[in-house]
């Protein structure tokens, strides 16, 4: 009897599987239909409202940067792309000891050198001990390593990618040490090393030493703090507690206008796995956003990282239904969307516009009865 049941059971399996599969297909189609019916009119309205405020549609948003590049940088980048290193060298020379700007410009050129480095090789040949070329070299090798790894999670990353990642990171350490030796006051090489620490999994004790090197040179450096916060995140080498602690300490200890109030917001964002925005409206989060607003107002308007803070502010103001204030930030950064929180999504421009448009629509609706 058991034998017969076994055999019948086996024969029945494919039929059941087929029926289940068909059912799934039906349910999926049905839900899609429902969505299409309910969604389309609303979104169109909101994007029209946004247009009336002078905001751009997704296809006109720049997805390469968080804000327009400072004068001369774009031209220098283009020259490097075309093989001429001199404009880039000139930009770095002009910046001099403004570490905040220097690290931003180095990243920009290094990203290009991670693609193709013929121009950089030429620069290095003509000026073998140029600290600017050395720091671009070091940073570019770190970028290269991360490019080889790819941006997928560990389980979707191949052994070949990991090996290349590891090999390249290890090699970059020599270049970082050389760049640091050529310009001992510059924190930029050490900031690059944070990304080595992330990839190679430096122990916390090593990271603390590295951090001491950085804060001795630039105590309130935005990019350094942003990078270190990534290290302390749960998805890399730390935990939610360590990341939040680091962010709060940095924000509390920094002078107004240093933009480090962005850190608690980023730490929150990196560890937020909730489905709704309740966790983003707590009094604690409102206070964080207020602090960041004050920080942004006090900052040098030309601070290279100010637009990144504004993107974050716009996002959280919108989630907290402070749409008026949100729209103000959106208007200040509109046109460039490569910043947190949008950056983590493949459809960053669409995502940015969805949140922005919802605030725009809310502001318009509030204005209507008065008009």
């Amino acid at each position: 009897m058991t034998v017969l049941l076994w055999i019948l059971g086996i024969l029945a399996v494919p039929t059941v599987l087929f029926a289940l599969w068909m059912a799934r297909v039906f349910v999926k189609e049905y839900r899609k239909e429902l969505k299409r019916a309910s969604q389309s009119p609303g979104t169109e309205d909101a994007s029209e409202v946004a247009e009336q405020f002078g905001l751009l549609p997704p296809e006109r948003q720049n997805t390469d940067w968080a804000a327009p590049l400072p004068a001369g940088w774009a031209a220098a980048l283009n020259a490097a792309r075309g093989g001429d290193w001199r404009p880039a060298a000139k930009v770095l020379h002009t910046i001099g000891r403004d570490w905040e700007r220097r690290s931003a410009a180095v990243s920009l050129f290094a990203e290009q050198a991670a693609e193709e480095d013929a121009w950089l090789l030429e620069w290095e040949t003509e000026h073998p001990d140029d600290p600017d070329a050395a720091v671009v070299r070091a940073r570019s090798t770190v970028f290269l390593a991360w490019k080889i790894r790819g941006s997928k999670r560990a389980q979707y990353t191949t052994r070949e990618q990991f090996e290349g990642f590891h090999r390249t990171l290890v090699r970059s350490r020599e270049e970082i040490a050389r760049a640091a030796a050529l310009n001992p006051d510059d924190p930029t090489p050490y900031i690059a090393e944070i990304w080595v620490a992330l990839g190679l999994g430096y122990p916390h004790s090593e990271m603390d030493k590295l951090w001491a090197e950085i804060t001795a040179r630039a105590p309130y450096h935005y990019e350094a703090h942003f990078s270190a916060l990534q290290y302390w995140c749960a998805k890399w080498r730390g935990s939610e507690q360590l990341a939040t602690g680091f962010a709060e300490r940095a924000a509390a200890g920094a002078p107004l206008g240093s933009l480090l109030t962005a850190l608690p917001l980023i730490a929150h964002y990196e560890h937020d796995e909730s489905e709704d925005s309740a966790v983003d409206r707590t009094p604690e989060m409102v206070a964080r956003v207020d602090a960041a607003l004050a920080d942004a107002a006090a900052a040098d308007p030309a601070h290279p990282r100010l637009p990144e803070l504004r993107h974050l502010l716009a996002y959280y103001l919108s989630l907290q239904d402070r749409d008026e204030a949100a729209l103000e930030q959106f208007k200040l950064v509109d046109g460039y969307v490569n910043a947190l929180p949008w950056r983590y999504r493949n459809d960053m421009a669409e995502y940015y516009c969805t949140i922005r448009d919802s605030s725009a629509a809310a502001v318009a609706a509030a204005a209507e009865p008065a008009a």
């Binding site: 058991t2 034998v3 050198a113 991670a114 193709e116 480095d117 290269l144 080889i148 070949e160 290349g164």
Partner: protein, 546 residues
């Protein structure tokens, strides 16, 4: 379900394995009969033809079910007169286990020991018994451990469970063997097809045509279809009888611990996977190294070398023993995970027999050296027996390396041939590098999806490891062609290449590594973002006047 019921079900399913053929044939016959009777004659003819085509593999499959019966493991049969001590041990253990001693003992070249019965009627009735005893196993185990292994094997016949359980286990080994056979036959078909296509591709390349992609998906289709049906049924059977089989393994382990001692049994269980890994390595890197040069180790060394490698690499063995597989080899494996078996044995109370039989099991043989030599004749294939024997291991290594370097065929060679439409040589490669075409050439290498999608520096970084490896061996091949490389043989380490004096520096001991570093740096320079073949060209032996 009780144990007896489970066993009954398994026996019924075992019979079903045969019934499967008959059912398949009956279905086809019924289809034909129906077609002839009711369908128009043109259609009926087609149906009959198709069904005959389908019946062929079924009938083939039926014969194949019979085939394993005549299976013969290559080995050296030893009589009681040849090996009195071994026979005495085997008898004593059979007595202790309460089962019949084997009728024949056959020494084999594998890391395995098995008592096989030629069962009659699907294993329902017992038949003559043979003990297969692997010499590599005897080389690696102590006498006490060998006793444990044999006691375990006998335990399968006494188990202490119902008679049916024994039948189930016998049925399992049989079905495992049938599936294995299907698999190897299908693989052989694919390999034949691949060899045929590769030959055609090689010819095409020689004539300067583009080689076709090798595709073996169509090969052995009927075999594989049949194999799939039987494998499906077989795995179904194996799964249905799994619990019975695993219980039997645990029971056999207990019997072994009782007869041969707890510690010997546990350590034998730990030792066998380590030995299997070590032996596979030994065959690859030592014993069969010269096969392509048609060269074998000196007589007696084919099996003798294993013992020496084991003692030289004792530390590595310690590591191997420590990492017990804690998952079964496959979901259908009748053996529970070794880690679990060891745990159960080691949980038994101590029996104070830890110090028994410490000597190497191989010493049970009357004249081990003579036996090892005789075994070579028994297990080597006809063709292998005609191979030349090296004078010593050093010669084997040097000749084999020279041969493999002379016929070197890396992916880089193939890419170079495609790119330049010329015979792939080192000088050709260096010319390509000097012309700044290395990275275009690299695009012809077999690349992973990620590497193929990468551009610029990332692409170069992806392909560099492969290029480095291939270029290094091409350079070694160049030295080897001028007889400038000597290889240092070692049982402990991988062979090291010794390059000519100009490279080697002065210190004798670090000569190899120093030359290696110089070579590595030169290879690195040739593959840099700005390639420089100068250092490498400076190292190379002067080219013969062309």
């Amino acid at each position: 379900m009780g144990a007896t019921l489970r066993a009954l079900r398994a026996v019924a399913l075992l019979l079903g394995f045969y019934a499967l053929n008959l059912v398949l044939l009956a279905v086809l016959a019924a289809l034909d009969a129906a077609a002839l009777r009711w369908a128009p004659s043109a259609l009926a003819g087609k149906i009959v033809i198709v069904s005959v085509l389908l019946a062929v593999p079924v009938i083939r499959g039926m014969f194949m079910l019979r085939a394993p019966k005549g299976e013969d493991v290559a080995g050296l049969e030893v009589t009681e007169a040849d090996e009195p001590r071994l026979w005495a041990l085997v008898r004593e253990l059979a007595d202790a286990a309460g089962t019949r001693a084997p009728d024949r003992i056959i020494l084999t070249g594998e890391v395995n020991a098995a008592v096989a019965e030629q069962p009659r009627l699907l294993g329902l009735l017992p038949g003559p018994r043979r003990l297969y005893l692997g010499i590599p196993l005897m080389t690696g185990l102590s006498e006490a451990q060998l006793r444990a292994v044999l006691a375990h094997e006998y335990g399968h016949f006494t188990g202490g469970d119902t008679r049916l359980a024994a039948v189930v286990v016998r049925g399992r080994t049989r079905i495992e063997r049938i599936i294995e056979q299907f698999r190897t036959r299908a693989e052989r078909k694919v390999a034949e097809e691949r060899a045929r296509q590769e030959k055609a591709a090689a010819k095409a390349v020689a004539k300067g045509k583009k080689a076709k992609e090798i595709d073996t998906t169509g090969a052995g289709l009927t075999y594989r279809t049949m194999a799939r049906i039987y494998t499906l049924y077989g795995t179904f059977y194996l799964r249905a009888s799994l619990t019975t089989a695993r219980d039997q393994e645990y029971a056999a382990d207990l019997a072994a611990a009782r007869i041969a001692g707890r510690d010997a049994t546990a350590s034998a269980l730990r030792e066998i996977p380590a030995l299997a890994t070590a032996h596979a390595f030994y065959l690859d890197c030592y014993a069969m190294l010269g096969v392509r040069a048609r060269l074998l180790p000196p007589r007696g060394e084919l099996f003798g070398g294993f013992g020496r490698m084991l003692s030289a690499r004792a530390l590595e063995l310690v590591e191997l023993r420590a990492q017990l597989p804690d998952e079964p080899a496959s979901p259908y494996d009748s053996h529970p995970p070794i880690a679990e078996r060891v745990r159960r044995i080691e949980a038994l109370p101590a029996d104070g027999r830890a110090e028994e039989g410490k000597g190497v099991a191989l010493d049970l043989l009357t004249a081990p050296e003579r036996t090892l030599a005789a075994l070579e004749d028994a297990v080597l294939t006809e063709e292998a027996r005609t191979f030349r024997r090296a004078a010593d291991w050093d010669e084997l290594l040097n000749v084999s390396m020279a041969e493999s370097l002379a016929s070197l065929d890396t992916p880089l060679h193939r890419a170079l041939a495609v790119y330049t439409k010329d015979r792939p040589t080192l000088s050709g490669l260096l010319a390509v590098i000097d012309d700044g075409q290395l990275w275009r050439l690299a695009q012809r290498l077999p690349l992973s999806d990620e590497a193929a999608a990468a551009t610029g520096r990332a692409f170069r970084e992806f392909v560099r490891p492969m290029l480095r490896e291939a270029l290094r061996s091409m350079v070694l091949a160049e030295f080897s062609a001028h007889s400038l490389v000597t290889w240092e043989f070692s049982w402990e380490r991988a062979a090291t290449a010794h390059l000519p004096g100009s490279l080697a520096g002065d210190g004798e001991n670090d000569g190899g590594t120093k030359a290696g570093a110089v070579l590595a740096a030169a290879v690195e320079a040739a593959l840099a973002d700005r390639p420089d073949t100068g250092p490498l060209r400076a190292l190379l032996p002067p080219a013969p006047a062309a």
